[in-house]
């Protein structure tokens, strides 16, 4: 499943077209990258499974893992857009913290769940807008602007509450991510996933036929993915006491961002600006507006992530969302998003986020100290990026 995801990654970069020779080569390369990441992952998973007496791959643990990762996965998908553009956001954790704090304060003031969530998203959007305007209008590098944001937004929040914990939030609020879906919703979702996969498979088949190159593997990839996803949902439903709501957040945002990046004008411009912003200017693209929208989207996603962090713990604490940006950037990088800009996909970033979370979770199950966990994650990050560099070099000598 992972190799399929990664090779469809390659398809995003190259446009599924009637290319034969170079496409085969690219798939070969992507395969080897996927294999190189997949093989250690499988070994690691197997090791976790054996050492934890079968707890690791249980639906209860998987459900926990999903809920733990939800916020990271969402911001990793968001920061992917910015990194592809050639920008960066180091303020993600602080923005999510402040947005979550606003939601918690709204809850304490007696606002409804919807109003609180909207307030959090509004906070994120405002922060994104401010940072985006400084980056685009004053030409301050995003690294600097968002580094300042990292200090500023958390500082503002802490000064406001004097670093006190704000909460607890309503049970309804907590259920946004922690609750389980009803049976009706679960089966509705499963049906939707399968239908979507079938439609996508059909569309691919039709387009491949038009170009006279029908490849069974390429056309059936979405169907396989869809069936696997539906199976996973069913597994949660039967064995884990229900599908966690967190899946809805991850799924919705990932699908939306993926469509935007691969199909929408804004997404295409994201890649073009990230590859060569001067050339984008000469092509008549409004580069400033594209970058500004990128920061606003990132802000909105930080708002959502802030909501999810509060829902998970039930209160806003002073260290909520700390280091979130670093985990997100690491996840995106492991998933093949290039910090040079112009290359990457939401799917890859999600994969990276889950790989990191799985390692985290597995080692916690085995009782490995969190200090040692950091060492392992660092090695994986360097390994993945080093591999990417090696493959790029090998390709460019062609």
């Amino acid at each position: 499943m992972k190799s399929q995801e990664l090779s469809s990654n390659a398809a995003v970069l190259t446009q599924p077209a009637a290319a034969t020779g170079s496409k085969v080569l690219l798939i070969e390369l992507m395969k080897s990258r996927a294999m190189a990441l997949l093989l250690p992952s499988v070994i690691l998973f197997f090791y976790f499974q054996v050492m934890s007496d079968g707890v690791f791959i249980s639906s209860a643990n998987a459900s926990l893992l999903l809920r733990q990762t939800a916020a990271v996965a969402v911001v990793a998908a968001g920061v992917t857009v910015l990194i592809i553009m050639g920008e960066i956001d180091l303020s993600i954790g602080s923005t999510a913290f402040l947005a979550g704090l606003v939601a918690a304060e709204c809850q304490m003031a007696g606002c409804g769940v919807a109003a609180s969530v909207l307030a959090a998203i509004g906070t994120g959007v405002t922060i994104g807008l401010v940072q985006g305007i400084v980056v685009t209008r004053l030409s301050v590098p995003a690294f600097i602007v968002t580094l300042a944001g990292l200090l500023l937004w958390r500082g503002l929040g802490l000064a406001w509450t004097n670093a006190a914990a704000i909460g607890p939030v309503d049970a309804d609020f907590a259920n946004l991510t922690e609750g389980r879906m009803s049976s009706l919703m679960t089966f509705g979702l499963i049906t939707a996933v399968v239908l979507l996969a079938a439609w996508s498979t059909y569309a691919r088949y039709r387009s491949a036929k038009e170009h006279g190159a029908v490849s069974f593997g390429a056309a059936a990839a979405p169907l396989g993915l869809g069936v696997a996803a539906a199976g996973g949902l069913l597994w949660f439903y039967i064995g884990g006491g229900g599908v966690p709501n967190a899946i809805l957040w991850i799924g919705t945002i990932a699908v939306l961002l993926d469509i935007i990046l691969t199909r929408a004008k804004f997404g295409r411009q994201t890649f073009l600006v990230g590859s060569n912003s001067e050339a984008a200017v000469y092509a008549g693209i409004n580069v400033r507006r594209t970058v500004l929208i990128g920061f606003v989207v990132m802000g909105a996603i930080c708002g959502i992530a802030g909501t999810m962090l509060i829902a998970r713990v039930g209160t806003s604490t002073a260290d909520s969302g700390i280091n979130l940006e670093l985990t997100a950037i690491a996840a995106a990088t492991i998933g093949g998003v290039s910090l040079r800009g112009g290359i990457g996909s939401v799917r890859g970033a999600l994969l990276g986020a889950f790989l990191l979370a799985t390692i985290d979770n597995g080692m916690s199950l085995l009782g490995v100290s969190s200090y040692a966990q950091n060492v392992v994650k660092a090695l994986i990050l360097v390994f993945a990026v080093g591999l990417d560099g090696y493959l790029t070099r090998r390709r460019s000598t062609r």
């Binding site: 970069l13 004008k265 073009l272 008549g284 062609r398």
Partner: protein, 525 residues
């Protein structure tokens, strides 16, 4: 002139045998063979010109000879002074006296001219960089070229052709036995080319063997002693003197080709039609305290359906002028203009785009090609709105059809929309970038040096497309070029720019002598 030939005295100019010889050189990448069984010999005191279309294998051949492709990764053997040589790297070949000046220059704008010139061998003292020595070396080398710049100044002030000159000057300053120049004249004006050749002849006469790669057939008579022609990785022609152009073209293309002769006469322009681009006394200044003018009181107009040439030497202010017209100039712009019915210059490039204006920029690598993006993504970068539903979602099948049509129309090779644009040859890249300019609703097309570093085959395709765009879609075309033949063959009218001013307007039928006189200031009474 002693300085230019420092260290050459030991080079034994009278030697008859080959200084550097490659025997049966070949190179393949995977199953693709780019060079097969090529023999090349460079003798002391001669200029060997290497010709061939882009992708013919010229650069690969030079990369082998200079050790960039190391021993073991190519077929065949290299012989120096009769003894086999094995180069593991570029520095190994430089040690043997083989100096390569690559086509793509890497001049770092923030560093000084002297630092850029001697980047790989900075003079040192006690382990520290000796700036005084570097500046002295740079002065010596630059003096030879008559380049009057301060070696301590930042390289950012240099024009592209001046950048090439400093790299050449630096290469000549070391003791070279064989000098390999990969398309040194591609971005040069005729005056600069003459200056370069004057230097090359001196160096040649001092006993250096020179390999000169070029696209320009005109310059062969001036500089070449012998000629090697490559096509598709194979040597297809060897000449011991300069033959007729038709013969060379035949060896390069495998077919005879009448350069620039197949165009129909220009359509007379109707006096009642309004110009699509009208400029009155426009001046373009560099942002800064001195307010240096790059274009002064320029007046010109372009009518729909005609191709207008803007001829001039590099540095005359042509690029700055069109950047200002396209909204891509940061400094002050003063004067009047009407562009596609709108008054004033556009404030930015997307406003220019909305008015129906597109610009094919001069610097393909940094202003054109979006590295790593596919041919398709590169081509449609300017026209996503043409394929978008509700200005949001791209209609991918429609985009794909358009890209396939344009690839077929312009003859882009390889015809695979999915591969990365930077994997293509210069000529094919330029075809894709030209296609990028041709969006729906195009009214003014500006081409800044459209065929720089583009092989003859691709040139013909590009000219054909530009002419048909002008005639069939009634677009006003402005071609900037320092290639006189290109201007004479393609333009209906020609403006000549010299030292930031328009020096004259000429009708079709103007001679190259008149144009060159205007462009060098000789016309000025």
């Amino acid at each position: 002139m002693n300085k230019s030939v420092r260290g050459l005295a030991s080079g034994q100019p009278a030697k008859a045998g080959a200084l550097l010889e490659g025997r049966g050189l070949g190179k393949s990448y995977g199953s693709v063979s780019v060079l097969r069984g090529v023999d090349i010999a460079v003798r002391a005191g001669e200029v060997l010109a290497v010709l061939g279309e882009n992708g013919a294998g010229k650069s690969t051949l030079m990369r082998i000879l200079s050790g960039i492709i190391p021993q073991g990764e190519y077929e065949g053997s290299i012989v120096i002074d009769g003894a086999p040589a094995h180069f593991a790297s570029l520095s190994a070949s430089e040690e043997a006296g083989i100096v390569l000046v690559p086509q793509e220059l890497h001049v770092i704008p923030h560093l000084s001219i002297a630092e850029n010139m001697f980047a790989s061998r900075l003079p040192g003292r006690f382990g520290l960089y000796d700036a005084t020595a570097a500046v002295r070396m740079a002065r010596e080398a630059l003096e030879v070229f008559g380049l009057n710049v301060d070696p301590r100044a930042r390289s950012a002030i240099l024009t592209p052709s001046e950048r090439r000159l400093i790299v050449l000057a630096a290469a000549l300053h070391r003791s070279a036995r064989v000098l390999i120049l990969d398309e040194p004249t591609a971005a040069m004006t005729d005056v600069e080319t003459d200056l370069l050749f004057e230097q090359l002849r001196l160096i040649r006469d001092a006993g250096v063997g020179i390999v000169h790669i070029t696209h320009r057939l005109d310059e062969l008579a001036q500089i070449a002693d012998r000629i090697l022609v490559l096509r598709n990785g194979v040597a297809t022609g060897r000449f011991d003197s300069v033959p007729a152009k038709a013969e060379l073209v035949q060896a390069m293309l495998g077919e005879t080709l009448e350069v620039g002769a197949q165009r129909e006469p220009s359509t007379p322009r109707s006096p009642r039609r309004a110009p699509v681009l009208q400029v009155r006394k426009l001046s373009v200044y560099v942002d800064g305290p001195q307010r240096r003018a790059r274009a002064t009181d320029v007046s010109l107009e372009v009518y729909p359906g005609e191709v207008v040439g803007l001829y001039g030497l590099v540095g005359a202010g042509r690029t700055e002028l069109v950047r200002a017209l396209f909204g891509a100039w940061r400094g002050p712009v003063i004067g009047e203009c009407v562009i596609a019915g709108h008054r004033g210059v556009p404030r930015n490039t997307y406003e220019a785009r909305r008015r129906g204006m597109s610009l094919l920029p001069e610097d393909r690598k940094s202003q054109g090609v979006m590295r790593g993006q596919s041919i398709s993504n590169n081509m449609t970068a300017s026209m996503l709105d043409d394929f978008s539903m509700f200005k949001f979602l791209i209609d991918i099948p429609r985009e794909r059809r358009h890209v396939a049509d344009m690839i077929a129309k312009l003859g882009v090779r390889p015809a695979r929309p999915g591969i990365s644009l930077n994997a293509l040859s210069g000529g094919n890249q330029q075809k894709v970038l030209l296609a990028r300019c041709l969006f729906k609703g195009l009214r003014i097309l500006i081409l800044d040096e459209p065929t720089l570093g583009v092989d003859i085959g691709a040139r013909v395709d590009i000219y054909k497309e530009v002419q048909s765009i002008a005639r069939e879609r009634d677009v006003g075309v402005l071609i900037i070029s320092s290639d006189i033949e290109e201007i004479l063959a393609e333009a209906d009218r020609v403006f000549v720019m010299y030292k930031s001013r328009i020096q004259g307007e000429f009708a079709r039928g103007v001679t190259s002598h008149e144009l060159l006189s205007a462009a060098t200031g000789a016309l000025h009474a």
